[in-house]
């Protein structure tokens, strides 16, 4: 059994100290492309987290059998298999969501952050720690995605949590919160430039908090 402090460090790393979204700046492609609403951000973040946890775990299991020269192709193949499974599952059980996320689901494969964690952590650490690291890093990315998604949704459309029914079915139909009634819409926030502005603001906010602490 691993000590509690190690678990805590892994999660502190993933969620704050080495947050993939706003510190390592890895995984920017999905971060910028699908963070225009909370539901898009949340579902892509969770899908990535799932892939990261399983891929880190499986790489850690077989890490002693992978020839060093062939490790990168092996990792990528493994990740691609997992992403294909997740994509097919989402396509089967949440078809509307699949249509929205579209190309960005298969594009989880070449996301740098997954390969980076597999290479930097899972290929050198025991299995349980690697799974936890995948989860922590994935949740860190998801948190940034959701924050950015909420920011862009409120500024861009004046709503929050719209479209949850696409993922969860009829039950979530009434979850949409209209923050500003009669909002004229701020197209820039919904378009890709809004993602860059939002990400820049989030990084600035994190750096501010970090410098206040130090």
């Amino acid at each position: 059994m691993m000590p509690w402090s190690e678990t805590r460090d892994i999660f502190y790393n993933g969620l704050w100290k080495q947050n993939p979204g706003i510190v390592q700046l890895l995984g920017l492609c999905p971060l910028l492309a699908v963070s225009n609403t909370v539901i898009n951000a949340l579902s892509l973040g969770l899908a990535t987290t799932l892939v990261m946890a399983i891929s880190s775990g499986s790489v850690a299991v077989i890490r002693n059998f992978i020839p060093n020269a062939l490790r990168i192709p092996t990792f990528v193949l493994l990740i691609a298999v997992l992403v294909t499974i997740v994509t097919l599952v989402i396509q089967a059980y949440a078809q509307p969501l699949y249509l929205i996320l579209g190309i960005f689901l298969p594009l989880i494969t070449p996301t740098c952050i997954i390969l980076a964690r597999v290479e930097a952590f899972a290929s050198k650490q025991p299995t349980v720690q690697s799974i936890l690291d995948g989860i922590a890093m994935g949740l860190g990315l998801t948190a940034v995605l959701v924050a950015l998604g909420a920011l862009r949704e409120v500024v861009g459309k004046g709503t929050l949590f719209s479209g949850f029914d696409l993922a969860l079915g009829e039950i979530a139909k009434g979850w949409t919160v209209t923050v500003f009634p009669d909002y004229p819409g701020f197209l820039l926030a919904v378009l890709p430039p809004g993602a860059f502005f939002g990400l820049g603001l989030l990084i600035a906010l994190r750096n501010l908090i970090q410098s206040r602490r130090a």
Binding site: P184, G185, F186, L187, L188, A189, L191, P193, F197
Partner: protein, 336 residues
């Protein structure tokens, strides 16, 4: 740190040079421009003061240096009058906060702040922005100061067709899309607002010549910008006269003259070497005409200048003049 007196002097001269154009605009299009000028200036000073405070800079010298006023004037002159007040606020927010202070404040901005604010608005609120008031003489109904106040602050919506008209570039685009030919359009004078806008544009030219005479700007950028526009539109017109407007139309239309003398010449965001200025402004002219002719937006001055703003540091790096006593130009990557 405080802005040198010359910043204030230059900005005051620029404001004086804008006056004839502003006066003509007020005379021909009605007094609503005064509202947008005052609104942009007040919001600009407000955001500027807030950011100076947050960044621990002294308020008085920076607020009084005139740069915010010039940015506000340029934004107000490029936007339609009679928009709801918050659009001017959003424009100035992006101009001063994002365009200027996030890059490090006075003298540090990569992009021209006024054009950044304009681009944000035109991309984000196309429906609200594309309401260009017609010249007072031609409009079926000309809004008085009181009407202008109601429209800007109280959200009153007069029937748009009563006071607005498509700009020449707008109608050109619509007519071409409808399958008409550019030449017949020009001949039939179905671009009614051309003359009033021509006069305003020519007065911007006058103000620009004043700036040249006072040596606030050099000839390179205006000449290269107008040359780039004339050359590109001339070539396009020669290739396809049926679907292209000629160089004279492009030189007077839209933001060409205001851009050539007042916006592209921004000393901070433009290229600074003589050769660099020619390259920067010439390419901006080329891009302007390409956007007008083939893009989805009617005018391309703002986007062209912003694009070339981002290229200006690179252009400067490769066009450093030969230093006296050295054999050749100094290029990036050379040993010092």
């Amino acid at each position: 740190m405080s802005p040198t007196p010359s910043v204030t002097r230059i900005m005051t001269q620029v404001l004086w040079a804008l006056l004839p154009g502003i006066a003509a605009h007020v005379w021909l299009f009605g007094p609503a421009l005064l509202f947008s000028l005052v609104l942009c200036a007040s919001f600009g000073l407000l955001f500027e003061a807030a950011l100076l405070k947050a960044r621990h800079y002294p308020l008085r010298p920076f607020l009084g240096d005139g740069t915010t006023l010039v940015t506000a004037a340029l934004l107000a002159l490029t936007l339609p009058t009679l928009l709801p007040w918050w659009l001017y606020a959003v424009g100035m927010l992006f101009a001063t906060v994002v365009g200027k202070h996030l890059y490090g404040g006075l003298g540090q901005n990569t992009f021209n702040p006024a054009m950044l604010g304009f681009a944000v608005l035109i991309v984000s609120f196309p429906a609200q922005i594309n309401v260009w008031p017609a010249p007072a003489a031609l409009a079926a109904y000309s809004p008085s100061l009181g009407d202008a106040y109601d429209m800007i602050f109280a959200g009153a919506r007069l029937p748009i067709d009563a006071f607005s008209a498509a700009t020449p570039l707008d109608s050109l685009k619509t007519h071409l899309r409808a399958g008409h030919e550019a030449s017949s359009l020009m001949a039939a004078q179905s671009i009614p607002t051309l003359q009033a806008r021509d006069l305003v544009a020519l007065l911007y030219l006058l103000g620009g010549l004043y700036l040249l005479a006072r040596r606030i700007i050099t000839w390179h950028i205006p000449v290269a910008f107008l040359g780039g526009i004339a050359l590109t539109s001339g070539v396009l017109y020669g290739l396809d006269p049926a679907h292209q407007a000629g160089p004279f139309f492009h030189l007077l239309a839209g933001g060409t003259l205001l851009g050539a003398f007042f916006i592209a010449t921004d000393p901070v965001s433009a290229a600074n070497t003589p050769v660099g200025k020619l390259l920067y402004a010439g390419l901006a002219g080329l891009i302007t005409v390409l956007i007008r002719s083939f893009g989805s937006f009617p005018d391309g001055v703002a986007f062209a200048i912003l694009l070339m703003n981002s290229a200006a540091p690179l252009i400067d790096a490769y066009t450093q003049p030969k230093v006296f006593g050295h054999r050749r130009r100094h290029l990036p990557g050379d040993k010092p």
